[in-house]
């Protein structure tokens, strides 16, 4: 697990708008290990989409990234790349799966050609060879009767099939990192599972690393090795998927877990997090979540919490973990999760 292929260090992204500077990403750091899936979870406006765009070098022109931010990939800082350097990275070493398959494919280009494009660009393949490879990719992502459909146009396909094509495009040049930006949000639930399974299988075959962006913790459980929870442009908690699901420490993570339906959710058992994320034009002082946090401490509005270590792999930025903080009792459902966590720990130590 200690072989980071990508290191994100002190990432800040600001946007200049007519109303002022929006601090969309405020000091985000994380590692992505070889072959793992890292999920970045957060509600809309938490900065997860800006993070992906930054990783692809696709930010809008008014984005400002300070010099001390670093994205280290293969011994170079991606933020120093020129536009033409970026072009050799995008779709080649780092590829992306888009959210909405209905609009992500060019309606006037044959699907086979759209899949072949990255190969022609990055592998210098001839058109015929690239199309041959595209056909293999179509088969690989489970498009039935691929031979007959390679010359289809997107409008002839269903959403699920189109998303398979989008996955095929992302995989075409064998990228080392695959960024999936809410790849299943726009799909029907049954199709969602198919696409998620497809991604898992393909990851096993290719050994690539995935950054999986989502607002849906439910999707994360089966997909990710590790989870980072983002709030108001910051990571507030990160850990292995089990640690986040069964031993969450940050009240925001509690809120996210509580607002997620599970099989034992009783009627009326879903709890929303009150309020809305803060305005990132003027981020609040201290802990940005304090104003929505039933467990907020007085210090939360004065000073930003540092990351407290929970385990070697699990950190959370909340003052509740400070030794001076009072012991709080989390919501009942979180207590149940904690209980489950203790059982898991015991079983592990026995084994």
């Amino acid at each position: 697990m200690s072989n980071p292929i990508l290191k994100v260090e002190n990432l800040h992204v600001n946007f200049n708008t007519y109303a002022g500077t929006v601090q969309a990403i405020r000091d985000v750091s994380f590692d992505l290990n070889q072959g793992e899936t890292l999920a970045i979870v957060g509600e809309s406006g938490s900065g997860k989409s800006v993070t992906t765009k930054t990783l692809m070098g696709l930010n809008a022109k008014n984005a400002l990234i300070p010099d001390n931010s670093r994205l280290i990939f293969k011994d170079r800082n991606l933020l120093d790349l020129t536009e033409s350097d970026w072009q050799s990275v995008r779709g080649n070493e780092i590829a992306m799966i888009f959210q909405d398959p209905m609009t992500s494919l060019d309606p006037t280009m044959k699907i086979g050609m759209q899949i072949a494009e990255p190969l022609i660009k990055h592998r210098n393949m001839k058109k015929e060879d690239a199309l041959k490879r595209a056909l293999e990719l179509m088969k690989g992502v489970g498009i039935p009767d691929s031979e007959e459909h390679i010359n289809d146009y997107p409008h002839q396909w269903s959403g699920g099939m189109r998303q398979r094509a989008v996955v095929a495009i992302a995989l075409a040049a064998d990228p080392e990192i695959l960024i999936a930006d809410e790849p299943t949000t726009a799909l029907d639930v049954t199709i969602q599972a198919q696409i998620l399974n497809l991604m898992k299988t393909l990851q096993k075959d290719t050994g690539s690393s995935i950054i999986f962006i989502t607002h849906d913790l439910g999707v994360v459980a089966g997909m990710a090795n590790r989870v980072a929870v983002m709030y108001a442009g910051k990571i507030v908690e990160y850990g292995t998927v089990d640690e986040i699901f069964f031993n969450p420490q940050h009240p925001y993570t509690w809120g996210l877990l509580n607002s997620m339906p599970t099989t034992d959710t009783q009627q009326g058992g879903l709890q929303a997090i009150p309020g809305t994320p803060p305005d990132l034009l003027e981020p609040p002082k201290g802990d940005a979540f304090a104003s929505r946090n039933a467990y907020a401490l007085a210090i939360d509005s004065k000073e930003e919490p540092p990351f407290f270590r929970v385990s070697d792999t699990h950190y959370a930025a909340t003052w509740l973990l400070d030794e001076r903080a009072p012991k709080v009792t989390p919501p009942v459902k979180i207590q149940k999760r904690w209980a489950h966590w203790r059982e898991m720990q015991e079983q592990e130590s026995q084994a």
Binding site: W86, Q87, A95, T108, I169
Partner: protein, 305 residues
């Protein structure tokens, strides 16, 4: 596809029938005929009316006209007493068609280039200049532009001939420009907004994420997607060209059907007015049909039903 074309052709014929019928009866209630010359004796008038079949009952006249129109016979001109309308139009149609085609081709090509340039330089100086030029282009009616061109390049700096047709290509330059500016401006504005939309679309984002260069993105994805809708403009632009060309032909003394049309209005040459009307309507409808079929062939999303 063939079924669709047949259906459209049927609608086209039906519309033409309506146009003929409406114009025929409108002409009947039109005030004044070219025969209300007080010098005409009643006998001479009766003689004239017999010649033109105007003494027959109205329904008979209508029937004769319809049957004639089916055979391409629109009667005889009042003004030029031994010339058939179809011959008059037949002689002049190629001239108008050439002028219109030249203007359309020049206008659309110029518009495609300028629109794409404008979109790619969105919000900078090039875009701003092209924006002003194209807005000006749609604000200036072609006949005013024609007059200005005649004044500038005919009188002030006599570079081009300002009247006549067919003697040299240079005669067609000024009228073509005068007519082409409006379609060029319309196309520019249209392509710009289509292209800007295409450039901000998800599929262009995906193309960027594939690592394509801005040039490849424009050439392979944005261009095609913003060009196809331009076809839908050609119908309305052709209609605009018809209107424009009547006056442009007048201004530049071009012997086309537009000039003929304008000349026959004050002399109340109803057969010519009617014949031209039918030809104009037919031309416009055929243009629209052709562009619809072309769109269906080029745009994979459109399927004709």
């Amino acid at each position: 596809m063939w079924k669709y074309i047949l259906k459209r052709l049927a609608l086209l014929l039906f519309t033409l029938f309506l146009v003929i019928t409406v114009t025929f009866f409108l002409m009947q209630i039109m005030p004044g005929t070219p025969f209300n010359n007080p010098k005409l004796t009643p006998e001479a008038l009766a003689q004239l009316k017999t010649t033109y079949g105007l003494d027959l009952p109205l329904w008979q006249q209508y029937w004769n006209y319809l049957v004639g129109a089916l055979h391409g016979d629109f009667g005889t001109s009042f003004q030029y007493q031994n010339q058939s309308v179809s011959m008059l139009i037949g002689q002049r149609l190629p001239v108008s068609a050439q002028l219109g085609a030249q203007a359309l081709v020049v206008g659309v090509i110029a518009g495609l280039i300028m629109g794409a340039a404008s979109a790619r330089n969105k919000n900078n100086k090039i875009d701003g200049t092209l924006g002003i030029v194209s807005t000006l282009g749609i604000s200036v009616p072609s006949f005013i532009l024609g007059i200005v061109l005649v004044y500038l390049f005919g009188f002030k700096w006599p570079l081009f001939p300002v009247s006549g047709w067919g003697d040299s290509f240079s005669q067609s330059i000024l009228p073509t420009i005068a007519l082409a500016v409006s379609p060029a401006a319309v196309t520019t504005r249209f392509v710009r907004s289509e292209m800007i939309e295409a450039l901000s679309s998800d599929y262009v984002q995906l193309a960027k994420a594939k690592g394509l260069s801005p040039k490849e993105i424009v050439n392979k994805h944005a261009y095609r997607n913003s060009m196809i809708p331009v076809l839908t403009l050609i119908g309305p632009m052709a209609a605009g060209l018809l209107t424009g060309s009547t006056l442009i032909e007048q201004i530049f003394s071009i012997p086309g059907i537009g000039q003929q049309f304008v000349l026959s209005i004050p002399s109340k040459d109803f057969p010519v007015i009617m014949g031209t009307t039918v030809v104009y309507a037919a031309m416009l409808m055929v243009m629209i049909l052709i562009t619809d079929i072309l769109t269906a062939i080029i745009d994979p999303r459109v399927r004709l039903q």
